[in-house]
């Protein structure tokens, strides 16, 4: 991918990368193994504090959850850029997993995850789309409503 184009596309969509999230313990935001870059679970943090808190389907609607998931993805891109030096080095998104803290009755997980998939698609995927796993969970750190896992393939 061309970094300029990824960052320009981000800007043209009205997004700005937040500061890279700082790990909250003895782990790293990103690790490279072989041609893959694994990120730690990304949360909807802004300046280190939860920007969204609550349960999807109860206090939070789908629009809130979609905003939270986009913020978690932007944190992930920021962590990837901090690790790689440049988003240029990303060949493509291999896998996106979206964990959603939702009520037991909630059924619209795919709608929420679409916010992440569409953003990644616009940024990285003229060619090869990512795979996706969408799950409901009963609790997440600090009661945040979403957590995102990302695995990238790097340019060799």
């Amino acid at each position: 991918m061309n970094q300029a184009s990824v960052e320009l596309r981000l800007a043209s969509l009205g997004y700005e990368l937040p500061q890279a999230p700082r790990p909250l313990g003895a782990y790293a935001p990103a690790t490279q193994a072989g041609g893959l870059l694994f990120l730690s679970g990304m949360l909807p943090l802004r300046s280190g504090a939860p920007a969204y808190v609550g349960t999807i389907g109860a206090e939070l609607g789908i629009g809130d959850a979609q905003n939270a998931v986009r913020l978690a993805v932007l944190n992930g891109l920021s962590a990837a850029r901090a690790h790689l030096g440049s988003l240029d080095s990303i060949r493509r998104v291999v896998r996106l997993t979206v964990h959603q803290r939702a009520t037991a009755e909630f059924t619209e997980h795919a709608n929420v995850a679409d916010a992440a998939s569409e953003l990644l698609h616009l940024l990285f995927e003229p060619a090869a789309p990512h795979t996706r796993v969408v799950l409901g969970v009963s609790s997440l750190p600090a009661s945040m409503p979403v957590e995102v896992e990302l695995v990238f393939e790097l340019e060799m």
Copy 2:
């Protein structure tokens, strides 16, 4: 693996691969990176509609859950075949993750997951068995009871 043997074994076990599931958004059913094939989360869909709905340990018993998990695995094999052209290209199953929408009191997750492990074992594993992760979740898309993740290693 020999495709004929995998497909013949499937048939001899009384299974037929369903139509490959269509992604429900801006993502793909399968992505290849290095020597690995990652699938999107596979659900117990039949012709695009949920074939099983409910909570394991409440409306659904272990037998239902095992049928649902086998169907999700068959959807995954169908997606893999559609991507690869042939199940021939699979060297083996690296990892199976079985997410189960169960009551908080449910304890028999391993029993449910065995339905998937045994099917994969019969099809792919004269030699090297897969690793497995078995989890309970509180909700899944469209209230389906199981979701399966699969990672394959490919013949080089």
Copy 3:
């Protein structure tokens, strides 16, 4: 990594590797693909029986959960050693995922996961720390409170 140092560090921290856990079905504790070693989900089992049972935030406090998570990690290291012959072959921990069976209100997942991260850090990480995913789940096999996923990069 130098095996002696990993095993010596373990001993100097007062830990001993338990017997390698035996798979409970048609799967394996560990699978190698490319330069990565994937483990099956590791539970807080001791001699094949659950050493901890219950829900974090209800019957179990953070100290119990941290002990459970350390035991699950030790089971993982034992499985890795049984597969590899020696912990020597591990270059580093790529990814740690800590699933926690917690109440919906529980917020201290990171605290619990730190027990695993700090142990892995002391053993393997003078240089390159692991990535981490921390999740709450509503149920786990046999009502155990934690399940750990580990992916290692191997020395080539």
